[in-house]
């Protein structure tokens, strides 16, 4: 790490994001059948709610939401780079999506950990 300066938006961060996009994609693909199974258990409020009480389920859902948000933000960034050329507008939208992602993350933690 020592002596390495990284520039914002440099080529290296692009490769990291490219890799993260694929890693999160694989996680989400593997999580999809599990989520499907989870939805199939939603026969009543009590059983649905009880599903989310154990800590491993909370952590698993949180990890999946993190993968989803990361995947979504990188994907939106890709689209912005293709279609939004004014740099200031692009950065403003990127930042707005970033704030949205962080809010969604905090909201997810709140939703999950308010269940006891």
């Amino acid at each position: 790490m020592a002596g390495i300066m990284r520039h914002a938006g440099g080529a290296r961060s692009g490769l990291t994001l490219w890799l993260l996009q694929r890693a999160s994609a694989v996680w989400l693909a593997l999580a999809s059948p599990v989520l499907l199974w989870l939805f199939a258990q939603a026969s009543s409020f009590e059983t649905w709610r009880a599903l989310f009480v154990p800590l491993p389920v909370k952590l698993g859902v949180l990890l999946t939401v993190v993968a989803l948000l990361l995947h979504a933000w990188i994907g939106l960034r890709e689209v912005l780079m293709d279609y939004v050329h004014p740099l200031l507008l692009r950065m403003a939208l990127l930042l707005a999506f970033g704030v949205g992602v962080l809010l969604c993350l905090a909201w997810t933690v709140h939703i999950l950990w308010s269940l006891v």
């Binding site: 693909a29 979504a72 689209v79 969604c104 909201w107 997810t108 939703i111």
Partner: protein, 122 residues
């Protein structure tokens, strides 16, 4: 001139050529819509876990009319994005890169996403 001198069956191929393009455009479009729908998904999750009334409200919303249509649309977008994404991951590691294989897998992506949505509906 060049076009008219080609055998006829290549025209059929030309018609099918945009298939991969459709899958690709839909992959991007579905990704944008799904990304922007994430807060709505979290809202539904929060409401469904809040109280029996909230759970019933979410279930009823997706059970009829516009809500059912939105739910089915969401499932289709998710499935299309998933299958198209798996196809692209295959390309990343060199699977299915051939012209015919890519075209065939594009068709499979479209059919599986629509078929999967149908199964969800039933």
């Amino acid at each position: 001139m060049i076009r008219s001198s080609r055998p006829f069956f290549l025209n059929l191929v030309q018609i099918r050529l945009p298939l991969g393009g459709w899958v690709s455009i839909l992959h991007r479009g579905s990704g944008v819509v799904l990304a922007l729908l994430t807060p709505a998904l979290l809202y539904a999750l929060a409401l469904s876990l809040q109280s029996p009334d909230g759970f019933a409200a979410v279930r009823d919303f997706f059970a009829h009319g516009l809500g059912a249509l939105i739910g089915l649309g969401g499932v289709w977008l998710w499935l299309h994005h998933l299958f198209a994404g798996l196809r692209h991951l295959g390309f990343d590691v060199g699977i299915g890169e051939g012209r015919l294989a890519a075209r065939r897998s594009a068709l499979w992506v479209l059919l599986l996403a629509i078929g999967g949505t149908g199964v969800w509906w039933l």
